[in-house]
């Protein structure tokens, strides 16, 4: 399981304030918690913050990098902003693995961001949607996922650098979507060998839900069974991480031992 930390996101009030006031220690403390929980990649998203977004991104990337050499996922829905941000972060942190989060399967978006990933040796997340928006069914998700995958492979990216995100929507808004997402993962995983990674922005499923942690945990396990191997999630949620590790043990992704949770932590050097 590749754990992308979701926590460095300007949608969180504490992070927004820290970015606005350039308080590095607040960000770094959060990053440390995420790393202690098992985060492999730190996703950074400015959210609705003030100031020049390019400069903010570069500042945030440097601040995170001071705490960890782990890969950074540069998260924005604006392709034009990513086109500016990626070269700047690459120049500032030449050794750090970058992941572009994200492109859609719309030709305009892919045309800008896939070559950018190739040029900077970055990974890239491809959303299974195009210019028409988020699909309401499985078929369109699979179609968009396949289109993105083909474009990325043809551009020269390795499957290991490609993440397909079938886009999960809140359960209280779109009750049929959780199953559609799982089914899309299953079909795309079956059709491609070696498969790319499959990722979701987990917390989105439980937005404004009372039982959000339980919903996140349950759905993550269900998706892992369908073939999910990465998630943007709260790495500091111990129950969530342990449920994911357990699901992977039950799928024999890790060899069982009575102390398999400890083994998983040891394996990560935690």
């Amino acid at each position: 399981m590749i754990i992308f930390s979701e926590r460095i996101n300007g949608m969180y009030r504490d992070v927004r304030a820290a970015i606005d006031e350039h308080k590095a220690d607040v960000i770094q403390q959060l990053v440390r918690h995420q790393l202690e929980g098992g985060a492999d990649v730190i996703d950074i998203n400015l959210g609705p913050t003030k100031g020049d977004p390019v400069e903010n991104f570069v500042w945030l990337a440097r601040v995170v990098h001071e705490v960890t050499p782990k890969p950074l996922s540069l998260d924005s829905a604006k392709p034009d902003l990513l086109v500016q941000v990626v070269p700047r972060v690459r120049a500032a942190l030449p050794e750090t693995k970058l992941i572009i989060n994200s492109s859609t399967a719309a030709p305009e978006s892919m045309g800008k961001l896939v070559p950018l990933a190739v040029q900077h040796g970055a990974g890239i997340i491809g959303l299974t949607m195009d210019q028409e928006g988020v699909p309401g069914n499985v078929e369109k998700r699979v179609e968009c996922g396949a289109a993105f995958l083909m474009t990325a492979l043809e551009a020269g990216l390795q499957p290991d650098d490609i993440y397909i995100d079938p886009i999960i929507l809140p359960i209280n808004v779109a009750p049929k979507q959780p199953w559609n997402v799982m089914e899309a993962i299953r079909q795309l995983a079956m059709a491609n060998e070696p498969p790319p990674h499959f990722i979701i922005g987990l917390s989105n499923i439980s937005q404004k839900c009372l039982m959000n942690r339980l919903i996140n945990r349950t759905y993550l396990v269900m998706c892992i069974a369908a073939g999910l191997d990465a998630a943007i999630m709260d790495a500091a949620d111990k129950d969530l991480v342990e449920a994911a590790v357990t699901a992977e043990v039950l799928l024999e992704k890790h060899l069982y031992s009575d102390d398999y949770l400890r083994a998983w932590r040891m394996q990560k050097g935690l």
Binding site: L255, S257, A263, M266
Partner: protein
């Protein structure tokens, strides 16, 4: 027609463990033996490099064995009352390491005091300059008294000490760590427990890089396939990046092969099964070569003919490696 690519790409390799220490390294061995390091499935050198051929240790007991069959008596009978002479014989026969079993310390086998075990270990170390493996008697209360003394007496020699288990691991782990030895982690034909023992030992601060896995052993015809599948599963886990299963493996082939009926029954079965002088070593050799295919790095063996056959088979299987 193109031939499909069947190479596997492994993300990790088996770790290397070096046994023994030369004078430059603080010991008195003439050379060290490094095992492990495999980057692929055994003997598929196109999958990944196999830097070290399997090493072979020859069994030496601290006292005259009881009930060893004739083919072994012919080789060791004149020296087996004296572990020092026996160890010298093992070296003459081409052993990479000496495998010394402290059987006489067992309460039912002589109940020797720790001082006697220490004396024997020191004498063997002095007489033969090969790296040394030392096993306790598998009676935990006694081993806990003896093995720390042995570890202390052999300080600096970087011996391989056995064995820790899921229930008995603290004393020997602490002793191995204090006196700079490597450690055999034993499990009863159970891969989940093999991993668990490594977790427990590592949790005490013992380095994973100094552990050798002993997944138990079974002879041809006596459940060898169970061990084989454990070896195979463990090796696949190691090559796929499971650091807690990446340790090299030791197998006790001689002990297991020579206690089965096929390697012991003499004249009464000679008409049907052929002469024991051939059959016994053959049983040991076949058990060893089969298990090597599953993924093993260090074999404890007994008969020189079996050892010769195994080395020959390994030589053939590794032909072309490094090219």
């Amino acid at each position: 027609m193109s031939i499909p690519e069947v190479k596997e790409k492994w993300s990790a390799r088996v770790s290397e463990v070096t046994i023994g220490a030369t004078p430059a390294q603080g010991g008195t061995r003439a050379r060290t033996v490094t095992i492990g390091g495999a980057g692929g499935i055994p003997f598929l050198s196109f999958d990944g490099a196999l830097p070290h051929p399997p090493a072979i240790a020859i069994d030496v007991l601290d006292k005259q064995p009881v009930g060893w069959p004739k083919p072994l008596e012919e080789v060791y009978g004149d020296v087996w009352a004296d572990p020092v002479q026996w160890a010298r014989r093992a070296k003459e026969l081409g052993a990479d390491l000496i495998n010394l079993r402290l059987t006489g310390i067992h309460p039912d086998e002589g109940d020797w005091p720790p001082s006697k075990a220490v004396e024997i270990v020191k004498a063997v170390l002095e007489a033969v300059d090969l790296p040394l493996i030392v096993w306790g008697c598998d009676f935990p209360e006694k081993d806990q008294r003896v093995m720390p003394k042995v570890a202390e007496a052999a300080q600096g020699e970087r011996c391989l000490l056995g064995a820790v288990s899921q229930t008995e691991y603290r004393t020997l782990t602490a002793a191995a760590q204090a006196y700079g030895h490597t450690l055999i982690a034993a499990s009863p034909c159970d891969i989940n427990i093999a991993k668990q023992v490594n977790i427990l030992v590592t949790d005490m601060g013992f380095p994973l890089s100094d552990i050798v896995i002993y997944p138990s052993t079974a002879a041809l015809g006596y459940g060898m396939e169970y061990i084989y599948s454990i070896l195979e599963r463990g090796r696949l886990a190691a090559l796929s990046g499971d650091k807690l299963m990446a340790q090299p493996v030791i197998l006790d082939v001689g002990f297991e092969a020579w206690r089965v009926k096929e390697a012991r029954a003499d004249e009464e079965m000679a008409d049907a099964w052929g002469p024991l002088a051939y059959r016994g070593p053959a049983w040991e050799a076949v058990t060893a070569t089969d298990l090597l295919q599953g993924g093993a790095d260090l074999l404890i063996m007994r008969h020189p003919e079996a050892i010769r056959a195994v080395r020959e088979a390994v030589g053939q299987l590794m032909q072309g490696d490094g090219k």
